[in-house]
Assembly symmetry: C2
Homo-oligomer: 510 residues x 2
């Protein structure tokens, strides 16, 4: 099945003249229209105009150019079906064996330029998708090329096979057509959707591979990182090994946790939980406090800052084994120091909140979609429920603990001082277990809980956790409240002379 | 802008005659072709044939029916643009103000029936999408209806507005068109994709809302459960409150963990971790063993079985507060007993593995996609690395522990006997912390670790965890191995007269 005739109609003009020359040299007739025709003719090529075939030029400012039975018959005829070929002849059409089409780039032209809908719709291509879809449908007889990236491969294949393009090539090219139209249709649907609802009836996620990963959570699991159509990663990587699956998973927390603070802050993430956090006058002080939370577990962690990383802290960061550092900026001198540790991943992300508003997670054969847990204004409306009110110092620790406990897997308990995280009790099936773990961790780290604050991501079902924590010398508790036993929990806090504030908001995280 | 002429061409015929009658009664001309025309005429309606307009019937077995400038000009003309209207007149066409089109159902007809590609492509509609896309593009002038579900709303709107359909309606209808074409194109791309790779360059997820949820992980987060186009949930719910976000998240583990065993098995999930697991001669015995793992934390859990739930265990399940029960089947008598507990969710899922092969998770502005962690054949190739070999009884506990530890959040440690889970150390930032937690939990539950097995989801970096566990009386350890300190870990196990097997496979889970 040799190609005798090709229809070319493209928005992206790169490579089109070269392709046209190649086809011409092999005696293939070129059919085209509008801008593509002009570019080909300017390139010295002979072109049959679509208007000459259909008998009419572009009408309605180009809205109806190619939508004609002679064109579509020529693309859609099954070459092995005698009736189809007879029908084509009686239509006055002829076979079109190669269709090269790409469209008005809707995302760049309409979405990114924030056009009014009335103007944006001019970028919804009708004829182009119709032609390339028709060619892709008929891939048993026709070759459909929808991207300039495919031209070189096409020409090689053409040469090797002496103009008898293999079915496997045509089928793969057809698949690419439908991948492209899917993304195109999704972008238009998204643009026309005015729903404020972040959870509409239909959510279309056209994902494009951004990075191959060596493996997933474990070496036997294949994995890749994808971005939605047209997006770029929210960061640059200066050096180090390529990011791993678990790096990607932890990077968002490593970035977002320090961003929640005005002061210079540093967090260390390990197995999806913060295992260290500190505030400081400078990055080094913040980092050293973060390390002191758990001077054993921070090994191999991901370290996040909310400030420019300077050479002083860089010197400290290259001492132990760490997986990754992420920060909004680095000094040149710091970057120089990191070069001594070739494998250490250094990631720079600009000063914006990382991650989309919608969380998506595959479970039970479907997808759970939810708003991300961004609410933080509950710190403005804390309610003290005990007789004793928190001191200024305790209030600072309450803020620190409350901003961190939401990032710890549930059931979550943290102990906090005014400048650092003191201990973490993560991921337990009962709340008091998390309390016990956090207390033990604080002791093992040689830290002091006197005057510290306990923060809990959900209410205490019984007073026992308060009793346990009180023995360590803590002086305040922050928790959502809302248990049917609240009254006895408050009473016990009063008896133990501990202040307690309710936030009203639970922060489970799994 | 009144509708004077309507083009109807639908695969789904439901409601089309009623809509045709409504339009006719309001003096609107009906244009149609093929099967739709026949149904309308059989319904006693007068219809203009598309063939009469274009001057040719359906050619090439219907491949080219509607792709004609008179039709597309009539749909695409901007009614406010004098030039467009003049062009339309010179084409010999006339305005088409309402387009009602839906397509060959590609998923049901081609994908689900496993058609050969050569037959499947007949279900790739070209004319239909071209027409409805044209109408949707021109929504400032035209109304596009792509689903029978929209007819009633359309007729109401038509009546209320006396045939002057508001722009907001037309825009929303246009958006639905592009949502539908996105899903359609995605299904075709998927079908044509022959890549074995589960992580191709492009992954398109067209999600349709399956269930509104009261809220997400927390009450202030909106959430919904979505399925990919055309799928149904893998279960039925017999009774109880609607499933919550956290129920959905835990259901897959509650289903899959017992499925990993041949014997009758029961698991209890709490905060995304198994907090109890037992095997038994019958469901009650398995359940009672699962409860005994942690007789405090199982409260409020999700209980999963791999067998038919009978009335005996049902009587036990209605005693405490539980969130949900999931099993492949229930006896009628058991269902009767559950009715006494109106809120308890009873979910039945057939005997297939729940959940897709691909795991998708939104992080850091993008999406991590990976193969699910399904590998389990490492139990066939265990390597004993100590002088002592596990006994038959220990081997049973090794199997049980190893099949469970992969479902516990990392770092994960479990202690297992031959018939039940004895203790869980979940979600810690250092491995030895998980060991400490698991040991404490076993003691608190009043269970005995003599002769039990410790399972670890990843290697031990130091011998300290083995020393700690040995003091409890355990007699075997199962772990992946692979630490640079393996030799000293093995040596310590030998000294402590513990047998240890390596699986070679890590199972992190976050």
């Amino acid at each position: 099945m040799k190609i005798k005739r090709a229809l070319l109609s493209v928005w992206k003009k790169d490579g089109i003249v070269e392709l046209g020359e190649f086809l011409s040299e092999h005696g293939i007739e070129l059919i085209s229209t509008g801008g593509t025709q002009k570019v080909l003719e300017d390139g010295g090529l002979e072109v049959t105009s679509i208007g000459d075939i259909t008998g009419s030029g572009a009408v309605m400012d180009g809205r109806v150019k190619t939508l004609h039975p002679k064109i579509f018959g020529g693309i859609l005829a099954d070459r092995k079906n005698e009736n189809h070929l007879n029908d084509l002849t009686s239509l006055g059409g002829f076979e079109i064996d190669l269709v090269v089409v790409n469209f008005y780039p809707f995302v760049q032209e309409a979405v990114e330029k924030n056009l009014d809908p009335a103007d944006a719709i001019e970028f919804i291509d009708i004829g182009g998708p119709s032609m390339i879809r028709a060619a892709a449908k008929n891939y048993h007889s026709v070759t459909a090329l929808c991207e300039p990236e495919l031209y070189a491969d096409f020409m090689d294949t053409f040469t090797v096979n002496e103009n008898d393009i293999p079915l496997t090539f045509r089928k793969k090219a057809a698949m690419k057509v439908f991948q492209m139209t899917t993304a195109y249709e999704a972008a238009i649907a998204q643009f026309l959707s005015e729903e404020e609802d972040i959870l509409p009836d239909t959510i279309i996620l056209p994902l494009e591979k951004s990075a191959e990963l060596r493996y997933g959570e474990n070496p036997h699991q294949k994995a890749a990182f994808y971005l939605t159509d047209g997006k770029s990663p929210d960061w640059v990587q200066h050096q180090g090994k390529t990011l791993s699956y678990n790096n990607y998973a932890d990077m968002e927390s490593a970035w977002n946790i320090p961003q929640g603070f005005d002061a210079i802050a540093c967090v260390i993430i390990k197995h999806a939980n913060p295992c260290g956090f500190g505030l400081g006058e400078n990055p080094l002080e913040a980092y050293e406090r973060a390390v002191s939370t758990d001077p054993v577990s921070y090994f191999g962690g991901i370290v996040g800052f909310n400030c420019k990383v300077d050479e002083t802290v860089a010197e400290a960061l290259v001492q132990p084994f760490l997986e990754c550092v992420i920060a909004p900026a680095y000094t040149q001198a710091a970057l120089k120091i990191f070069e001594r540790k070739k494998n250490l991943r250094i990631v720079e992300s600009p000063d914006v909140r990382m991650g989309q508003e919608l969380s998506v997670k595959s479970v039970a054969g479907g997808f759970l979609c939810q708003e991300k847990d961004r609410q933080q204004d509950e710190l403005e409306i804390l309610e003290t429920v005990t007789k004793k009110y928190p001191t200024v110092k305790e209030n600072k620790a309450i803020e620190l603990g409350w901003k961190l406990v939401r990032h710890v897997k549930s059931n979550a308990i943290v102990f906090a001082g005014e400048n650092q995280l003191l201990g973490v009790g993560a991921g337990q099936m009962s709340r008091i277990d998390s309390v016990k773990i956090a207390i033990r961790k604080v002791k093992e780290a040689g830290l002091d809980l006197r005057g510290a604050v306990m923060a809990s991501d959900a209410f205490f079902p019984f007073p026992d956790s308060i009793e346990l924590a009180a023995k360590t010398g803590i002086s305040a508790v922050v928790q959502p409240g809302g248990s049917i036993k609240d009254e006895s929990v408050i009473q016990r806090a009063d008896e133990l002379q501990i202040s307690m504030v309710f936030t009203g908001t639970r922060h489970f995280l799994h």
